[in-house]
Symmetry: C2
Subunit: 580 residues, 2 copies
Amino acid sequence: MKASQFLISTLKEAPADAEIVSHKLMMRAGLIKRLGAGIYNYMPMGLRVIRKVEAIIREEMGRAGSIEMLMPVVQPAELWQETGRFDKMGPELLRVKDRHGRDFIIQPTSEEVITDVARQELRSYKQLPKNLYHIQTKFRDERRPRFGLMRGREFTMKDAYSFDRDVESAGKSYDAMFGAYCKIFDRLGLEYRAVAADTGAIGGDRSHEFQVIAETGEDAIVYCPTSSYAANIELAEALAPSAPRGAASQALTLTPTPGKSTCADVADLLGLPLTQTVKSLVLATDTLDDKGVVTGTQIWLLLVRGDHELNEVKAGKVKGLKGGFRFATAGEIDGAFGCKPGYLGPIGIKGVKIVADRTVAAMSDFVCGANQLDHHYTGANWGRDLPEPDLVADIRNVVAGEPSPDGQGVLAIQRGIEVGHVFYLGKKYSEAMNATFLAEDGKPRHFEMGCYGIGVTRLLGAAIEQGHDERGIIWPVSMAPFEVVICPIGMDRSELVREQALKLYEELKAAGVDVLLDDRGERPGAMFADWELVGVPLRVVLGDRGLKEGLAEVQGRRDAQASNVALAELLAQVQARLKA
Amino acid sequence: MKASQFLISTLKEAPADAEIVSHKLMMRAGLIKRLGAGIYNYMPMGLRVIRKVEAIIREEMGRAGSIEMLMPVVQPAELWQETGRFDKMGPELLRVKDRHGRDFIIQPTSEEVITDVARQELRSYKQLPKNLYHIQTKFRDERRPRFGLMRGREFTMKDAYSFDRDVESAGKSYDAMFGAYCKIFDRLGLEYRAVAADTGAIGGDRSHEFQVIAETGEDAIVYCPTSSYAANIELAEALAPSAPRGAASQALTLTPTPGKSTCADVADLLGLPLTQTVKSLVLATDTLDDKGVVTGTQIWLLLVRGDHELNEVKAGKVKGLKGGFRFATAGEIDGAFGCKPGYLGPIGIKGVKIVADRTVAAMSDFVCGANQLDHHYTGANWGRDLPEPDLVADIRNVVAGEPSPDGQGVLAIQRGIEVGHVFYLGKKYSEAMNATFLAEDGKPRHFEMGCYGIGVTRLLGAAIEQGHDERGIIWPVSMAPFEVVICPIGMDRSELVREQALKLYEELKAAGVDVLLDDRGERPGAMFADWELVGVPLRVVLGDRGLKEGLAEVQGRRDAQASNVALAELLAQVQARLKA
């Protein structure tokens, strides 16, 4: 490609609404252009990256036996009503009526449509397993779209769906996709982790997120550097302390803590470590009658150590909270504790179910709220000052340095950006839509399903969050809009430069290198700044003086400086560096 | 690709709602699957065809200097309000509100968005000309979607838009696209014609439709077999008769024609040729005041010869009808003619403007309605029995055998399916959206624009309408989902067949041939029927007996029978036949 025949539009400044680095750089490099909130034009430069990502995905999906098709963007509501998602999904599902007043949705995913296809097309166990995917425009009407392609409304996703005859076969399909995803992210040249993830209401243990490592990531991912353990923070188990609970050594003491309503402030005031304090969180569960009217409410007190954080996903797995919980209202808290938040605690209350985190259950001489304004207890001890907790469970986020659940070392925590997800669905959709095949015994059986997503456009943002510096984007070679840019200096003045630039351009093209020749006639500084911003991995500078000595300058995007390369070796050098 | 790893689902019967052959065959061959009215899943077999079409389009668009980008499916209404299309377009424009109640549309085309991009990105004449395109999902909420992909609601279109500094340059951009389209349809292997088309309200003479020739086509296309003249029926000019009007030889006679309200019936009754009769069509134009209230109505009588058809597009170009016309109401007709339709005519009426087709203006002794129930006049003559017409114009469709407007022969008419359109837009959108660039004189100037569409998914239907027989689809090689299918007979019984089939499969793949190996283990008849239905251009049958003699059977999809080919020559033969 010659720059004069392409659309290059770099900006000095990012627009004000760009909060994170990838959004800023994508706008500045002219990869995307905002059309509306969370809706972007993929400009020619950005589309090249998308196409490269898609090509790698297609190849690896094909190798793993997945078959490409294309499902519509606009889908009839009927199918979504079969699974109940038409009603259950919130306003993020974009609903639309056609000219006849019939309901449709703009697809955010395609479980319903693919299950409908399967129940018509896959009739016999002989046709199984089958795995179908598409790469299609999706829409999710985010309440607050932001971060460019990271949390947009219209986006491109690859979603695959597997259909198997039984759980064992479904496991193999899952493994095949897991393997394909590893190959895809390896080939994209990204640093990532596959982490075990919570399976939510569906259950089972087959769910992995693929997280691109980046300090700016929204997700916390937990791993053990000395073993293969990796999980997202929702799932990573916090083990019970190995040491038993210590004996009580202090007396329970009502201590004034005026205005100190956080554990940190209380610890500070009392000169005690934060790890000696206990945090109180009040939840509520409602009992409903057949008509959905609330007939009773149970108040719950959840206790985690002062330096720990409640993990709501884990809390949702506690017996009695599984059916769904909410945070208690101010009135409910006052009714149960006779005190306002900030000074709540487990001592001297009635009718409240107490769930202690495993760590809290092993504490002695701890500090907790006294259920009196501006007061805490110190020296509190289980069994002496209050009954043992009703339930002990893992209800907190792990922290770095804790023992790994696999017993193979200690945990570390990184930030990540979720770009892929493999998920064993079981019969959730096949049962809801009565999608069956005829098994070997001649009887209909529901498909075992899995779903497998990759956020194609999100990957661009994630790659940039991982790879950038103060000058711009640093793409992996496989994702870069161009692999090499030729920057001729004074192409309009020097026939030698012009001739050599065109020659090199043709040579690289013929060798299959994705090369751009910058024939815009820009000054070197502006030219270099543009390509550093866009993030082209390799730059070849051709100047009159160098060429007369038979030399070109080659500089990788991460290199501190350029190196001189003899023209005779240039092609080989460029190819070698792209492969490195 | 091996059939066992692909999704093949052919049907014996087409669904009842499939009216035309391409729709039937696409459903039967498993290329598409209906999801809702006018909304289809593109199944793996169909998607392969789409991808091949897209790849050819991309290559030729790139060669012609057009740059690919991707504009969103969901577009903010604001831009569409700038051009007025949000209000002007009827219910075929799918409108949707997001969670905040803001208006959006699902794009049917992208003039507004691309013009918005251009007014931001293309600031100087130095950046011009530019041509940008995308291949994207479109939606048009057809009142009555039918014919499968021919008139669907969701479809894929390639739309390109050119931006130029002046009319001359815009003409070059237009020509480049015209040339690219010819290459695209040539490479797709379709029989087509580029025909001049009407430019509607925009004016100018730069509009061409690309029509795939098919007997079942919706459009009539007019061409001259002995010259390059080609136009669609709306545009093709009907010349005035070369012979002058004959002298009156009959007396005007009021003739009873009870119950004969059509020209054909009247001619029949009177034993006169249909070409002696004149057909009356009554239109009305309204005068509106500033508030859109009708302040006056003019009635028009349009006259075409009995065997001719009114051309409404041409009528719309007649002075006085340009602003828009409608067919007159029954009440208006009765008021102006004192008679009901079927017996209307130009004699003895007042206040009605008469427009005669050129042919009618040259007629003498003609038959026309007498404005009396059950009566016609015979022997009517201009100037004697009624005044000369107020206007004489070309207001009818041409018919085959007429002289070509270029004077180079006579016209022929074919049926066609419109699959592409190139259109010179001028400043229609750039002025509406105030999209300007800085010209060489430093002043802002509106872009000269062109738009260029290809109906990607529609092309599949058109190709099948053109290429099929009673056994199924006959694809051009470049569009076929697979170029070659290998059908091994008894692969499970004969190790020789198995080995040779796999060997040939690998050889063809290595030679870059898009080959499918049918390893499903189907019986020969079922296998052959499937691939004839799907329309694979070349079939290679490997059987135990033939292989022992070193022979395979090769049969082209259009061949009456197979020919034996020596295994040693098989690869070369297959490659040669695909290129032929």
